[in-house]
Amino acid sequence: MKESNSTNATDDFADKARRLFDESVDGLDGKTRSELNRGRQAALAEIHSGNRRWMQWAPAGGVAVAAIVAVVVWSGSPQIDIPDSPEVASDMEILLTEDSLEMLEDLEFYSWIDFDGETTGPTEPTNNVG
């Protein structure tokens, strides 16, 4: 019985507190209501900006993808190997000797010899069997 009275008193107290609170809510002035409405609209705009937020990153994403592709292409492309064969070494040796300048002066002559050799073919007689 005592517990029941206590519960009733608690409920009455809460009811009165709620009623007074609701009255104070109803009594909010127009300016405050207007500011609340403005705040609500600002919050609702966040839903749309949230949908578009990923688009803000699109340019940065494009640049990142391009950079990745560039790195992949660059690292995957065949490297230009400089041949280290003996012929190249000997050519370099010839070019670096002092005689090389003289050879360059007669370059036209050597070119003619080279061209003549290609057009006349081998000098040895062939066995043309009739």
């Binding site: 809460a14 709620r18 909010l28």
Partner: protein, 201 residues
């Protein structure tokens, strides 16, 4: 229809559906905010005793809910919203405590410490001025008594009594167990009744 046209049609349908979903969600959220914003403002105002600060806190909470949790089921919005709001209020109170300490240190107390934030409100219920005055004074007494309560008890009382959240919703909003809510609420009622006295009831 070629493959490109088909994929475009599917994409357009998906976009339309997303647009419709967003609009529906916005409408529902608008209704939810319109329903809770005034009570939330008064709850925040009782906690921080400043209407402008309370307005900022409520707006912050609405923005955070819309930005981060609007995709959650609508029945979760109320506990989430009040949890965000209570966290904002607690942060504000911490900052205020530090600010007051600094002010005391420099002996530069502000004059508006005792300002009463309750605005004069026109009466919509058609009561006499005496009745209005009685109600206003009773509410002021309740607010003063509430500010004297420990923070958790005040939160439990306001969420249960003013906002009408059930025990589970209040527990979710406060980030504690249902048992703790019952304890805080019971102690709050006991303290308030003791502070306000028999004549208040």
């Amino acid at each position: 229809m070629n493959a490109y046209a088909a994929s475009f049609a599917v994409s357009s349908k998906a976009d339309d559906r997303t647009g419709v979903d967003t609009l529906q969600r916005e409408k529902r959220l608008n209704r939810f905010f319109a329903d809770v914003e005034k009570r939330a403002l008064r709850i925040a105002e009782i906690s921080v005793r400043d209407r402008d600060e309370a307005l900022d806190l409520v707006q912050d909470a609405m923005i955070k809910l819309a930005r981060n949790y609007s995709g959650r089921p609508p029945d979760e919005w109320a506990p989430l919203f009040y949890r965000i709001l209570q966290n904002r209020i607690r942060d504000w109170q911490r900052r205020q405590m530090i600010r007051n300490r600094v002010m005391v240190f420099f002996r530069r107390g502000t004059d508006d410490d005792e300002r009463d934030p309750i605005a004069a409100a026109p009466d919509l219920a058609g009561r006499t001025p005496d009745e209005q005055l009685q109600s206003r004074e009773a509410m002021q007494s309740l607010e003063h008594a509430l500010t004297g309560l420990p923070g958790r008890q005040r939160e439990a009382f306001m969420l249960r009594t003013f906002e009408g959240l059930d025990v589970a919703g209040t527990a979710a909003a406060m980030g504690c167990s249902a048992g703790s809510v019952k304890t805080h609420y019971s102690r709050a009622i006991h303290s308030l009744r003791e502070t306000l006295g028999e004549h208040w009831q």
